[in-house]
């Protein structure tokens, strides 16, 4: 895009799981597409995954963002070409059929056909090379499988969007993020992609949006005129942008997340795998509760021990024998995203319910049990004044002392701030993502998911985004 004012038939704002797929589908349908992305283009492999440099270059606010509440919930968002898909763990779960069916009814989503969404999921799985990890699981992943098996608890390996080299060396895998898949596809079909370009607000004339006011990374500003705008900034930034643009309605009022609590576990042998995350997940109590493994570089191990540093710090010298794990819940709580005029970043809040807090407590205790069964010598739960857990008797102490308000609660799954559907009062956009009360503003990202899906969400985000983009393209070609 030239730095003077620009024009596009369709402006796509954001290039993550929702934006990249939208751009590819629309460009391939012959529409003139311009993608604007606030972050920069960072080639996969040019930064160390989960490092501070990655946080600086690919995360919003260096990865330090928080939803205020009791407790506050730390969250992270991608801010780069490809959005969250560039920095995430690549763990792929199809949208659950029962969740799709419930959404269709509760939110009155028209033509929300699970078969159509699963057919799209088939395509996505091919496009992203979704599959199991070749060779043996990492020791940190094996811990989850072993512990769950000994308890007779259901667990499985989650497929990932990874391309593995022919020799099957999993450490040389390439994440099939949007910069490797749908963004190049969009470009090949003629889409223009402008990185380092933030949309500050949309200019509306009644229900019709006419232009986007943008700021470039070098501070220059200009205007992009468009026929239609697809807002795909993710579940925090999309509602924030709509609010900044003066669009009212059910926008930003029902943030849903999968809150997680974590622990570090120390074993007799080396388990720490610095350059990868565990791929096993314990699903015995899903969707309410599931357990998995986190990135465990020494810095992240220290972080997991930091809530009770006085008691846990000596473990740090053994970080190679330590790995970090999480318990994630499907929360009944909700949060809000609120923009204030003239302020760049929105205020985000989240409120856990009593049931959520209880689930976090029992989840952490059960996760600690998995660790003990897997042979952990010591388990260090991440909450203030947590006890060291060495045996089953200590689990009762963990449960007694746990208070959600003292725990490091965090999330990387954010959704539901502009739910789709026709149900009045609880949806922000139509069954295909058009923002209620507007003629040509669409949302097509994680914001549309009516609730947190109870599984890793990217596949669901992509399936719904592709469905909506196809519908839009079909309506445009029908109009001629």
């Amino acid at each position: 895009m030239s730095r003077s004012d620009a024009h596009a038939q369709v402006l796509v704002i954001g290039s993550g799981a929702g934006g990249a797929t939208t751009a590819a589908v629309l460009a391939e349908a012959g529409l003139d597409v311009l993608v604007v992305e606030e972050g920069g283009w960072v080639e996969q492999g040019s930064v160390v995954p989960f490092s501070l440099e990655q946080m600086d270059r690919q995360y919003r606010a260096g990865g330090v963002t928080v939803a205020l509440g009791l407790p506050s919930i730390a969250y992270t968002e991608g801010r780069c070409a490809g959005g969250g898909t560039e920095i995430n763990s690549g763990l792929y779960r199809r949208p659950p059929a029962d969740v799709l069916a419930r959404w269709a009814v509760d939110y009155r989503i028209r033509d929300f056909d699970p078969d159509e969404l699963f057919a799209i999921a088939d395509e996505v799985e091919r496009d992203l090379s979704v599959g199991l990890r070749p060779g043996a699981a990492t020791p940190a992943s094996e811990v989850l499988r072993r512990g769950a098996d000994r308890l007779g608890w259901q667990n499985d390996e989650i497929p990932r969007w990874m391309a593995y080299p022919p020799d099957g060396n999993a450490s040389q895998a390439h994440r099939q993020s949007m910069t490797r898949t749908y963004l190049p596809r969009a470009e090949r079909a003629g889409a223009r992609i402008e990185v380092g370009c933030r949309v500050d607000r949309l200019e509306l004339d009644g229900p019709r949006a006419r232009a986007a006011h943008v700021t470039h990374a070098d501070g220059r500003r200009n205007t992009v005129r468009f026929g239609d705008a697809f807002v795909c900034g993710g579940a925090i930034q999309s509602p924030a942008l709509l609010q900044r643009s003066g669009i009212r309605g059910h926008i930003g009022k029902t943030l849903a997340v999968h809150p997680t609590v974590k622990l570090a576990a120390r074993f007799a042998d080396v388990v720490n795998t610095v350059d990868d995350v565990p791929v096993h997940q314990v699903t015995e109590f899903a969707p309410d509760l599931s357990f998995g493994g986190s990135a465990s570089q020494p810095g992240l191990v220290a972080l997991a021990l930091s809530d009770h540093w006085a008691a846990f710090h000596t473990a740090m010298t053994d970080w190679q024998r330590i790995s970090v794990y999480y318990a994630a819940i499907t929360s009944e709580g909700r949060g809000a995203v609120r923009s204030v005029r003239g302020v760049r970043d929105p205020i985000v809040t989240y409120r856990l319910t009593r049931r959520d807090r209880e689930l976090l407590r029992s989840g952490l205790a059960r996760l600690a049990l998995v660790m003990l069964e897997a042979g952990a010598e010591e388990v260090y739960p991440s909450f203030r004044d947590a006890p060291v857990v060495r045996n089953r008797a200590d689990l009762a102490r963990l449960q007694d002392r746990f208070v959600a308000g003292r725990a490091s609660v965090m999330t990387v799954h954010l959704c539901s701030t502009v739910p789709l559907g026709e149900a009045e009062g609880i949806t922000g956009a139509s069954s295909y993502g058009k923002v209620h009360g507007t003629d040509n503003v669409w949302v097509n990202d994680a914001s549309l998911l009516p609730t947190a899906p109870g599984v890793n969400p990217q596949a669901t985000v992509m399936a719904i985004a592709i469905r909506n983009a196809r519908r839009f393209a079909a309506s445009r070609s029908a109009r001629g």
Binding site: L52, A61, V64, G299, T314, D345, V403, G405
Partner: protein, 112 residues
């Protein structure tokens, strides 16, 4: 909202916390970590930065007083948004930096 710089307010607390938490860290290393924490705090989203700046300013006033460290430690144990989370924020940024940069750093006794 004007860009508030908070690093100078955060530095005394971060320095004190690290001296207690990780005594093995040399003065020069500690200064490097404190500078990193300051940069990250300056990059926080607007409202959070404002809140953190407020708490940091209070802590900064309290710290030099007799018993200041004890008061600050007690305050930071309150389960209130920002107040309780401020030490957690400083710790998490600092620890992530220390052990990414110097993974073999020995640890010491915990503080606040």
């Amino acid at each position: 909202m004007p860009a508030v710089r908070s690093s100078h307010l955060v530095a005394p607390f971060a320095d004190r916390l690290l001296a207690a938490d990780v005594p093995a860290l040399g003065v020069v290393q500690r200064a490097e970590v404190v500078a990193f924490v300051g940069r990250r705090v300056d990059g926080l989203p607007g409202f959070i930065r404002l809140g953190v700046t407020g708490v940091a300013a209070v802590f900064r006033v309290l710290l030099p007083l007799p018993g200041g460290w004890r008061i600050v430690s007690a305050l930071s144990r309150r389960p209130l948004p920002l107040l309780g989370e401020y030490p957690r924020l400083v710790r998490s940024l600092a620890y992530a930096y220390i052990w990414e940069r110097w993974p073999q750093t020995p640890t010491g006794r915990g503080g606040a």
